[in-house]
Amino acid sequence: MLILECPYCGVKAEETELSPGGEAHLKRFGPGSTGEEFEAYMFARKNPKGVHFERWRHAYGCGKWFLAARCTATLEVFGTYSAQTTEPPAEIVEKIKAKRPDWKGTK
């Protein structure tokens, strides 16, 4: 039963107020893209056992999508941040590196 703080309204929302939305920072591939690109966009998820960047919507609150950095093995949350970004903010990356020295990064 996760708690994630919505970066838009500041509410420490519990999981039942949120909707999960899968992996974050996916790049959309539309017409003209290759089969591999489209597959990567739609299906081939990183699914790491460890640090995961993911989408959540504060569905029963302010309605905004936001992003979270979370460990899928311990459920530790490193931080939440705006959905209007294509990569995790530097301070969250730093925090993860401090807590998970073995982490291989976002790629």
Binding site: P20, E39, K49
Partner: protein
Amino acid sequence: MKRYSVFAIAREALRYHQGWEKAWASPAPKSSYDAIIIGAGGHGLATAYYLGKNYGITNVAILEKGWLGGGNTGRNTTIIRSNYLQDPSAAIYNKALSLYEDLSQDLNYNVMFSPRGLLMLAQTHHEVRGYLRTVHANNLQGVKTEWIGPEKVKELVPIINIDGPRYPVLGALYQARGGTARHDAVAWGYARACSAMGMDIIQQCEVTGVRSENGQVTGVETTKGFIGTKKLGIVVAGHSGQVADMAGFRLPVESLALQALVSEPIKPCMDVVVMANTVHGYMSQSDKGEMVIGGGTDGFNNFTQRGSFHHIEETLRALVETFPMISRLKMLRQWGGIVDMTGDRSPIISKTPLGNCFINCGWGTGGFKAIPGSGWAMAELMAKGEPGPLAAEFNMWRFREGQFIDESVAAGVAH
């Protein structure tokens, strides 16, 4: 292997059961094998078993990082059915069901397959149409199912409330051949049979790397050292992506928690399996008398084998509405497992970018019921290097091509 029978029990009883031999051996790994299967769950063991039985390949090791049968094989709700809508699903699940029917005799191990019948309740008109579609499809697939009315449902399940105000029971898809089996026994029975064929089941042996040259696997690094192999099968539901990563390819799979629970045992009251998909709950009664209950998956990636409790509550609300008597039973134990979810919720039994490496994963919430069929098809793939008809459509590239095997289409029923 000494055969099990009532006579063997009697003989052993006279000497206080001191003479039973080990159900399976626990050898140290050899330096190499003709085939290695990673994962000694039901699917991995069944793959090994049919490799030996159908193809005579017995120089096989099954590597298990924990204890055999300790993953999803040992933590599911034991439902067995084959009333699937799509042809490829119906084929493999029906193969599994047919094998289950003879499995106790085949393995000389009572897996307690209990074809007590299985009902999928239709509680909206939309669901009625969906299940009727399934009956028509099943008839053409050679899968015997039928549509039954609410009165017949009540007759089969006296404890059900068929005229609930919100979701009355409008009928059900009924598969009389469906039922349950004892999940642990399936793994143990296969393990004993594999061991008897001379295969090595190596527990507490975690694979830490896959070594390959020129697009061919040469062996695996493990916590018990390097083990060479001519073929590799990856059958590790819940960690498929991690092992695929070691082999250098990515899978269209995500790992989610799926939960189940049992009530305290009561005297027999429900002799069929009931699934209520509109309200997301299913229930059967174990031979011990516990009501075995399952629901839906969590929505986020998770490797902890612990789900979120509100899903248990949702399931129980729905089942209390459907079976009012369970309100005064008590939840004895709840647990979670990690399931692989693919883009169409159907499995992958496939070749991989590595020539002699094969993968079996993505069974979602429907793995247990498929075990014998999955092992059969995976063994064929590993032995021949090409999929047979059972596995042909379950290749890992189908998503890119847009070839979906989507079971949720009829009435929102996933596996």
